[in-house]
């Protein structure tokens, strides 16, 4: 039985919003980890002083460190998970927090995305992601399949019964946003990421990431993880390695993974994202308790 579930955040929320939520005590810890990571990766510890690709890497590093700090805070308060699940790059955070990989390796993984950004620029590939609120997975799939090929646009992640992330060519994302707005989306907007995370097109731009994952030595995780790709429980080093390999260029089903966890006995979810971004779209219509960082701290 998996009763207590830890949810790990992916790259997404603005780093300012995450940092604003940390308590002074946790901020001290965060600063120590962040500065250590920056020294290792050759980045300035002042995010604004990083330029170009380094600027993005410095920002992307923030949710990883925030998740770690909040995770360690939970453990110190005696809140331990029965299983964990990572949203997108949250898979890397979960792998590190559960000791399947060292935290230093998680930082290197973030750094490996630098070559992805360079490759995208060199290929003049204009990609993007977007958020659609108000459509079920089936309704959105049907709507998009009439207008777009999967080469151009996919549902990168279905997050809940009403919330999805779309991913693909920037022009297709833009057109899909307009289409969804006209068809009754409660909200639809572009994320302007410049990448198409969870679209297969990202595989060819993620060679350094894939090579790094291949070379990395994984351990069995301290706690099992739920796969957002095939909805299986991951408890061995090989399974966690596969989950990390698939990340970046494979479609996720966060909605079904959460549902699967409920079938396996979940009663309490702990959203480790500092700003509660995961629980916002995961909690609607659920009977289970979903604790945010604010709840954990109070």
């Amino acid at each position: 039985m998996f009763k207590k579930i830890f949810l790990f955040n992916g790259i997404g929320p603005s780093y300012e919003k995450l940092l604003a939520k940390l308590t002074p005590e946790l901020m001290d810890k965060y600063t120590f980890y962040y500065e250590t990571a920056c020294i290792k990766l050759g980045l300035s510890k002042d995010i604004e002083k990083n330029h170009g690709y380094d600027s993005k890497i410095a920002q992307w590093l923030v949710p990883f460190i925030c998740d770690r700090v909040i995770y360690e805070h939970c453990i110190s308060k005696g809140i331990t998970p029965d299983i964990g699940i990572g949203y997108s790059s949250g898979i890397v955070s979960a792998s590190a927090c559960f000791k399947a990989i060292p935290h230093e390796a998680a930082w290197d993984i973030v750094k490996s995305h630098r070559s992805m950004l360079i490759a995208l620029d060199e290929a003049h590939e204009e990609l993007d992601t977007g958020i659609i609120v108000g459509f079920s997975y089936d309704d959105l799939s049907e709507l998009l399949s009439k207008e777009f090929s999967t080469d151009d646009l996919v549902i990168g992640s279905c997050n809940s019964t009403f919330h999805s992330m779309i991913s693909g060519k920037a022009s297709a994302v833009e057109k899909a946003i307009e289409l969804c707005n006209n068809e009754g989306a409660l909200k639809a907007f572009r994320l302007n990421t410049g990448t198409a995370f969870h679209h297969s097109i990202m595989k060819k731009y993620s060679l350094e990431y894939i090579a790094y994952c291949n070379d990395l030595k994984y351990n069995d995780p301290e706690y099992p993880m739920m796969s957002v790709f095939d909805l299986t429980v991951l408890s061995t080093a090989e399974q966690v390695a596969r989950e990390n390999h698939l990340n970046v260029y494979t479609q996720m089903r966060w909605d079904l993974a959460i549902k699967e966890l409920e079938k396996l006995g979940a009663t309490e979810f702990f959203d480790l994202s500092a700003n509660g971004s995961l629980s916002k779209f995961s909690r609607v219509g659920r009977k289970c308790k979903m604790y945010t960082f604010d709840d954990i701290c109070s």
Binding site: G134, F162, H163, N182, G184, L186, K280, V284
Partner: protein, 100 residues
């Protein structure tokens, strides 16, 4: 079309004010009909989804989010009064709200 009484209207308004007060961590007494969803409460679309789900549960209705979305295309939600008005129409017309 379902009849709506003053009592139901008051119940809907109360539910909406309670929800936003708790979710946006503001004193309920500070919310009024002219309170701006964006400027005063920094509300988002996910809050609206939760309110729709609560309304569906409370009044035993089957509400399609796209019906609300299409209604909002014609009638944007800016103030608390807009929200109350929309949820009263949801109660009355259900998914036919889009034709109102």
């Amino acid at each position: 079309m379902r009849e709506i009484t003053n009592e139901i209207k008051a119940e809907i308004k109360d539910m909406i004010f309670d929800y936003y007060a708790e979710e946006c961590e503001v004193d309920k007494a500070s919310i009024n009909d002219n309170t701006s969803l964006q400027d005063d409460l920094e509300s988002d679309s996910l809050m609206l989804v939760e309110l729709i789900e609560m309304t569906a549960d409370k009044f035993d209705m089957d509400i399609k989010l796209q019906s609300i979305g299409k209604y909002m295309l014609k009638t944007p939600m800016n103030t608390m009064n807009d929200v109350i008005d929309m949820f009263c129409k949801v109660y009355q017309f259900g998914n036919d709200i889009v034709e109102q």
